[in-house]
């Protein structure tokens, strides 16, 4: 008696062989270039954010207010660049460098809002605006709740 689970079927073998062919046919992503792009552009966004924060603090805002003002300016600029069709061209080189900072969040809200304007304000913009940001918000809420619980239990 043979154990059927240990011996792959012809179809499974064929799929495995083909998967190996695909892997060797695929071009390798330019990892170094991508990492450098993400570091330089993502870093530049953060340096710019720090400069804004310093400016607002030196202008007399308290630290929390200066932080909020910095976020507002970054979000506004990212939204503007998305609207002008520039943000995705930068993101092509930056990858995670433009997704991770708050600018990426702004882009992910403005892009669908623009895209689905054609379906009207309510079921287009209104319904679809959080298509991409929705998961970030949902899991952000869950994480915040968990952190709150941990803080409550162990503090």
């Amino acid at each position: 008696m043979t154990d059927e689970k240990l011996i792959p079927s012809d179809r499974e073998l064929q799929e495995m062989q083909y998967q190996m062919m695909v892997t060797s046919a695929k071009p390798k992503p330019p990892l170094l270039r991508n990492v450098l792009g993400a570091f330089v552009i993502g870093g530049a966004i953060c340096v710019f954010g720090q400069a804004l924060l310093n400016f607002f603090k030196s202008s007399g805002l308290a630290k929390p207010e200066a932080g909020a003002a910095t976020s507002a300016v970054l979000v506004f600029l990212a939204a503007l660049l998305t609207g002008l069709g520039v943000y995705d061209s930068i993101a092509k080189y930056a990858g995670a460098g433009t997704i991770v900072p708050i600018t990426g969040f702004a882009n992910s809200i403005v892009a669908p809002a623009m895209e689905f304007r054609q379906e009207g304000m309510v079921f287009g913009v209104g319904q679809r605006i959080f298509t991409l940001a929705g998961p970030v918000l949902a899991f952000g809420f869950v994480t915040a709740w968990l952190i709150g619980l941990i803080t409550y239990l162990f503090k």
Binding site: Q19, T82, G104, E115, L132
Partner: protein, 341 residues
């Protein structure tokens, strides 16, 4: 009793090969800048094509290509017995709405990006079978309508992987008829749906290559022909990676197509156009066939071409639910023998 026109398992040979009476192509600006840019009948200045939405722009392209093909055939829409068309949008609205405007008896098709070849195959059967004198077949795709349906909003900042393909903005239409002078369709090979388990929707060339290879191999086996019987073997939208895989798979079956095989997704864009692997979409094979290949056949540069329209039969839901991507390929043999001279 077996069908008298059937050869082998999946191929059909026509007694009176249908003839291409007219063909037209409309493409977007990016395709117009590509290597075949000056071959197309109309190149749009911008991808909205003077319309309010991209969907309307796609429909307008499809309508213009259909009208162009009918006009070039020296006919009017009322001369066409049946129109067969399809596209990538949900419920094939581009084709349905175009058929509404044209008023030609209509059969809607969905074969994903293989739709143009699916239409040619079915249309040829109708003509050779004596059911129609003229059949109009057409297909369209649009970069922006496809992106928003299958992937991300266009202004979303994402890095596209190197295996990704660029959906062609374009529409191609052809009128095939029962008689006349022109390239003719002598054989078709109806493809099977093949799935070797590729799940990456950013790598559709790899997903479709096994189906294309299966149809090509089956065509050779059914007809007893070999790769050297064709001046050109061309697949629909496998692009660079899918092309390489298809060549390997066909070679494993003992047929060497390395000398005369290419893909419409490679022909339509230049590597400097940043499309990554190449073009895709219903429009890809439709415009390369109607804008370029048919003209080359008429000019005598290709005497006999095996075209295989390829389609990835996925939906956004099937991808999210973790399903692999089934592919299909329909083969159509276009021969110059009816050109006279």
């Amino acid at each position: 009793m077996s069908s008298v026109k059937k050869l082998g398992q999946q191929t059909y040979a026509f007694t009176n090969p249908p003839v291409f009476a007219g063909a037209a192509s409309v493409v977007g600006p990016k395709e117009g800048q590509g290597p075949l840019g000056n071959q197309f009948d109309l190149v749009l200045q911008d991808s909205l094509n003077g319309e309010q939405t991209w969907e309307k722009a796609e429909r307008k392209m499809l309508k213009e290509s259909c009208q162009g093909a009918v006009k070039k055939a020296g006919l009017t829409p009322s001369d066409i017995d049946i129109m067969m068309a399809g596209d990538l949008l949900n419920q094939i609205i581009s084709a349905n709405f175009t058929a509404r405007d044209l008023g030609i008896p209509f059969i809607g098709l969905y074969g994903a990006c293989s739709t143009m070849f699916e239409g040619l195959a079915l249309g040829s059967m109708l003509i050779d079978g004596g059911f129609a004198d003229y059949v109009l077949t057409a297909a369209s795709s649009h970069y922006n309508t496809a992106e928003r349906q299958y992937r991300f909003p266009t202004e979303m900042g994402v890095q596209r992987p190197l295996t990704a393909q660029w959906t062609v903005t374009g529409a191609g239409a052809a009128v095939i008829g029962v008689q006349g002078q022109g390239p003719s369709i002598t054989h078709i090979t109806i493809g099977k749906v093949i799935d070797l388990g590729v799940k990456d929707s950013n790598d559709m060339g790899s997903a479709m290559a096994p189906a294309a290879a299966d149809t090509i191999i089956r065509h050779f086996q059914d007809t007893g022909r070999s790769p050297s019987d064709y001046d050109l073997i061309v697949t629909g939208d496998l692009a660079a990676i899918g092309r390489a895989l298809t060549e390997q798979l066909v070679k494993q079956a003992g047929y060497d197509i390395s000398k005369n095989y290419t893909d419409c997704g490679i022909l339509i864009f230049d590597p400097t156009q940043d499309t990554h692997a190449g073009g895709s979409g219903c429009g890809c094979s439709a415009v390369v066939l109607t804008g370029y290949l048919l003209k080359e056949i008429i000019a005598g540069r290709f005497k006999r071409v095996l075209g295989v329209g390829t389609g990835a039969l996925l939906s956004p839901s099937s991808t999210l639910q973790g399903e692999s991507i089934p592919g299909i390929g329909h083969g159509v043999v276009i021969d110059a023998y009816n050109l006279g001279g």
